[in-house]
Every structure is written in structure tokens, then in C-alpha cells.
């Protein structure tokens, strides 16, 4: 059976995998520990499910542990998450004390692993306070912030900073998300996994079934947005865009979002979208189970153009997922979408439904351009947003952090 590295080599090429092996040679046998708060669900768990086995295949002694907590703990970390994203949410003192207690309890359980590791990656705020329980550390500790914390609610950030500033380094997805800290703040864009259900190749039969399942007509163009029912994703703007295009071209719209949401506004936004969609048979508003990745994959593949018309966005990895399927993306001019959508190269950045409608009409009229942009988009993702690039950066960072923070690290 082909190893993971062999499978990736068939996608990214031998020189990319060879470079990973060369870098990993310098880290063979190092004990590397990743800690987050869940093994299932969410982008971080998805990433770790792949990155840890890949590191092990490369000869690194990589492990993954999760912390556990009760409802109050996760309520607190959810508030932290929202506050880091800019919502003004005060967290009661008792809840913060509970957060520290749970971290201390988890430290007790993970103590041996944390003490023995040469490099510890702590993902997101949930386990961030583990560090205060180990003042004398043998290994290097790195905090990985997967959240857009560019404009955090200051009282909550000030609290979290007490722990985070003690780390040897932090990692942020974009420079505009990073907060000033007294250690190196590495920048690492997230990535997608081409072998996952969300991104793997699908058979023609699977795609045909998707048309049938959702009553889609394969003769007419399909425009799709995959997003939660969240105002920042501008679902009503997407509907407005659809109507503006529909006056000229008989398109179909798919708006597919996850069903389980911890956002209380989700239900409200969903009903507003349903009301606005009315009984138009060409508007397909789909509430999908959160782990229905194969359906999302198929919907992206049968679409002509993908929208990500967000008004505010973190990194927006759904864009890279769509580009990987050779689809042009029309995205909101915000956050990480700007790094992935390059005007005329991989799609178009827009600010209004009118702008989005214009670009859809342009691409549907100029099918050759649509195809060319799609092909370029896939190559752009192959070079920049696949998990192998993420692994390379993790390896580079580990080597760099073990050799102090010099600008040039020359290894024999």
C-alpha cells in the first residue's frame, strides 16, 4: 500500500516531497507534541489528523493529545473565540478561573508528554494556559492561533496574552491577524488536504447522483456558495447577486451551509434566507450535516463558478477548496480571500452584489476565460495551499526555533 508521502508525491511532484525529506532529516527522532481540544470536527482536528502521521512518516516522533473540559469550560473558550474575532463579550471572573483550573487538571494528565517533548504546539485558546503549569520547560513551546484576532476585544485579549506571551513563538494565519508579542510571530497560511473527502477526486457517477439528489439541471449553469448561515457571509447579498444575473442568464443557485451551528444567529439568518428565496425553483438552500464533506465536494465540482461573497472573513479555506476543483471564485475583498483570489488569475474580488453579478456574467459569457482561470486556480493551490506546504513550514519553523531566532540558519 502506498505511503501517505507517496500519495502526496503523485499530486505535488517528487521535488516537493524530496525537500520535505531533506528538512525532516534534521529533525529525525525529535519528540513533537500537538495539543488541541478535539479529535473530531473543525479545521484544526482535520489538519492534525494528517500532519501528525505525515511527520511520523518523515521520521519525527510526533504525537497528538487533546484536553478535555466540561460545558462551562467550553462555554468560556467559545466566548474567548468570539472575543478574539472582535465581538464585545465580557467573560465573568469565575469562568476564567474555571478555565485555568481545567487547564491545570489537563496539565496533570499530560504532564509526562509535555515535559518530554522537544517542541510543543498548542493550538488555539483552549489549552493556552497549560504553559503556566510548567515554568521550567525543556522544550520549545509554540502557540498556534487559527483565529482571525486582528481586532480582538481588548479585555479578553489582555487576559489571554498573560499566557501567550510566555511561549517561545506564535503562529498566525495572516500578518493582519497577528497581535504584537515579545517573541517571533511566524506567519503560516492554512492549507487544504487533497486526499480528504472534501477535496478528493469523485467519479462521474457520484456527480450525476448529486444533480439528481438536489434536483439540479445539468444543462444550465450552477453558481454555488458554501458557507454557514452567518451575516458576515452575506447570504442575502448572494441571493441579490443571483437575481441580478438571472435577468440575463438562466442560472441556478446553490447555497449550502452546515446544519449544526453554535451561533445563535444561525437559525435566524437561515429563516431570513429561506423567506428571501421564496419559492424560486432555481434557488437551492441546503442545510447539510456538518460532516457531509463528500456532498460539499460534489456540489463544488458540478458548479460553474463558486461564490464566497463574505463581508468579513478569517482565512476562508473554502476558497482554496473551490480553486483546487478548478473553479473560478468570486470572493469578497476581505481577509484571507485576498490572498487566494487574484483578479483575472484565480477569480475576482468584489465589494457588492452588483460587482459579483457582473463578474458572473463575464465568466459565463467568456467560457474560455472561465476554463483558463479554473486551470490556473488549481495550479495556484497546488503550489501554495496544499498541506505539503504547511508541513514544510512546520519543519522549517521547528528547525528555526531550535537554532534561536537568527535570520539565517546554515546547517551542515
Amino acid at each position: 500500500m502506498a505511503t501517505l508521502l507517496d500519495q502526496y508525491e503523485s499530486i505535488v511532484g517528487a521535488d516537493v516531497i524530496d525537500q520535505l525529506r531533506q528538512l525532516a532529516r534534521l529533525l529525525v527522532g525529535k519528540n513533537v507534541l500537538h495539543v488541541n481540544s478535539t479529535k473530531a470536527g473543525g479545521g484544526v482536528a482535520e489538519l492534525l489528523h494528517r500532519i501528525v502521521p505525515l511527520m511520523r512518516e518523515l521520521g519525527i516522533d510526533a504525537h497528538w493529545e487533546t484536553i478535555s473540559g466540561d460545558a462551562e469550560f467550553f462555554q468560556c473558550t467559545k466566548l474567548m473565540h468570539n472575543s478574539l474575532q472582535g465581538k464585545r463579550m465580557d467573560i465573568p471572573e469565575t469562568m476564567l478561573k474555571h478555565y485555568e483550573v481545567i487547564n491545570a487538571e489537563n496539565f496533570g494528565m499530560l504532564r509526562n508528554s509535555l515535559e518530554e517533548a522537544d517542541i510543543v504546539f498548542i493550538h488555539d485558546p483552549q489549552p493556552a494556559a497549560l504553559i503556566e503549569n510548567l515554568p521550567e520547560r525543556k522544550g520549545r513551546w509554540i502557540w498556534r492561533c487559527h483565529i482571525d484576532a486582528g481586532r480582538p476585544y481588548r479585555p479578553v485579549w489582555r487576559y489571554l496574552k498573560r499566557f501567550v506571551q510566555d511561549y517561545d513563538a506564535s503562529i498566525w494565519s495572516l500578518s493582519e491577524f497577528a497581535q504584537r508579542l515579545p517573541h517571533p510571530m511566524y506567519l503560516m497560511a492554512p492549507s487544504i488536504d487533497p486526499l480528504s473527502d472534501k477535496n478528493c477526486e469523485l467519479s462521474r457517477e457520484d456527480l450525476e447522483k448529486t444533480y439528481e439528489r438536489f434536483g439540479l439541471d445539468f444543462e444550465r449553469p450552477i453558481i454555488t456558495q458554501i458557507s454557514r448561515f452567518d451575516r458576515f457571509k452575506d447570504p442575502l447579498g448572494v441571493l441579490h447577486t443571483y437575481r441580478l444575473v438571472k435577468e440575463f442568464i438562466p442560472i441556478q443557485l446553490v447555497y449550502a451551509g452546515g446544519g449544526a451551528t453554535d451561533d445563535p444567529e444561525g437559525e435566524e439568518v437561515y429563516s431570513q434566507v429561506m423567506t428571501s428565496a421564496g419559492d424560486d425553483p432555481d434557488v437551492h438552500i441546503l442545510m447539510l450535516p456538518p460532516d457531509d464533506n463528500l456532498t460539499v465536494n460534489a456540489l463544488q465540482r458540478i458548479s460553474d463558478i463558486i461564490l464566497q461573497k463574505s463581508l468579513r472573513e478569517g482565512f476562508g479555506l473554502t476558497v482554496a477548496e473551490a480553486l483546487w476543483k478548478a473553479k473560478p471564485v468570486i470572493g469578497g475583498d476581505t481577509g484571507g480571500i485576498r490572498l487566494q483570489v487574484v483578479n483575472h488569475y484565480t477569480g475576482f474580488l468584489v465589494n457588492t452584489p452588483e460587482g459579483a453579478a457582473l463578474r458572473i456574467r463575464y465568466l459565463l459569457k467568456r467560457r474560455n476565460n472561465l476554463k483558463e482561470i479554473g486551470e490556473r486556480a488549481r495550479e495556484y493551490v497546488r503550489e501554495n495551499f496544499l498541506i505539503t506546504r504547511n508541513v514544510r513550514e512546520y519543519l522549517t519553523l521547528m528547525i528555526a526555533i531550535m537554532h534561536e531566532a537568527e535570520d539565517r540558519i546554515e546547517l551542515a
Binding site: D15, Q19, E176, M185, L187, L339, E383
Partner: protein
Amino acid sequence: MVDPFTVRDCALIAIATGQSAQTLAELRDKLDIVPASSIYYHFWGGLLRPRFDDPEYQNDFAIWVRHSIHDKPLAERLALVNPTDFPDLEILRKELIDIIEERMDESEILPWIKASQSFYFVRSQIVIFDTRRRLETPEELGRHIPHMSLGSIFYHFIDARRRTPLARDDFSAWLSGFGSRYALLTEQVSHIDPYFINLMELREEIAKVFRQNELTEGI
């Protein structure tokens, strides 16, 4: 006897400096204080990170002035700065500041126009490692170049100009050790301008020069 060519590779990782600019005046002020590695990154780092070539503006400063400050004259002047013309990054830094100040003198409001997006200064760390490959002859080097990683191309062709006393790429420096037999090849390799192409195109251009010489000189 020429020593074998040691193939090295490198990987670059970006680090936020915590400095950003919202106006031209701020860009000028921050340029004065950011580490030299940040200036290096904003000229050359684009080769190793997600970016499409901008045919008009070849460095991050010019791109930002064009697209966020919307000042074409300054963007054009900054785009013309070729970093390979400067013996070190401090001189390059001074040149950038001079160009910006000269333009600020031409307009009273330009220094204070708020950019549509901030400029974030980033620096980089470069990890250089030995691939354990040793190439004995120019022919062997020619055969190997198409298979080199983009990191190796960056290190031996771009980074070498900053690293070596003669500011020369490693390939032509090594070839020159073989004397007149490879003089034409050496000259052609050293004349490749890396500034307007990406690393894949650069690798192909170097490989092409080797191929052409194979035909003309029987390498």
C-alpha cells in the same frame, strides 16, 4: 582541480514584525526602523510565497503604493528599483526612503492619504541545508538543474547575490573555475536577470542556457 558543486536547499519562513503603515509618511518612518531582513523579504520573498507576478510592480512596496495609496508615479519609481544593483540592504533601504521622500515633497497631501489596506512589514528566516548532492562537472550540473527544488534555485541564484562578496550567483561562480572552456556558458548564466520571472521560469531559463551550450559546445 575545481571542488564539486555542493547543492544546497533552503526554506523561508515569514515572521510578522508587528510594524505596519497606513500612510506614506508611516511607510517612510517604519522603513527606517524595520530589520534589513524585512526589506529583503519585501523584494525577494514574493518568489517563495503565494503571489502572481505583477508585470508592472515587482516589489511589495511598489504594489502597495499602486493599489492602496493609488499613486502611480511613486509606484513606478519604486518598481524600477532593482535590488541586485545595491551592494547591501542598508544602501537599498536608504534609496527607498529617498525615493519616497522625494515624492512626498511633490505633494502636500500625499504623505497623509490613508491607504485602503495597511502595509504589514514582514521579515523572514531562511534555513539553509545541505542536500548531500555533489556535482563534479558542468555537464552534471546541467543535467541536475531541471530537477532542483525551487528552494535550491532561490539559494544558488538569488540568495547568492546577497551572500557572496562579488554578489554573483553560485552557478556562474563555480563554472568560472573551469577556465575558458565554459566561458560562454558562465557569461550567459551570469547574465540571466532573475527580477521579472518566477522561480520555475528562472529554473527553466538556466536549464535552457545549459541545453543551448550542450548543442553549441558539445557539453
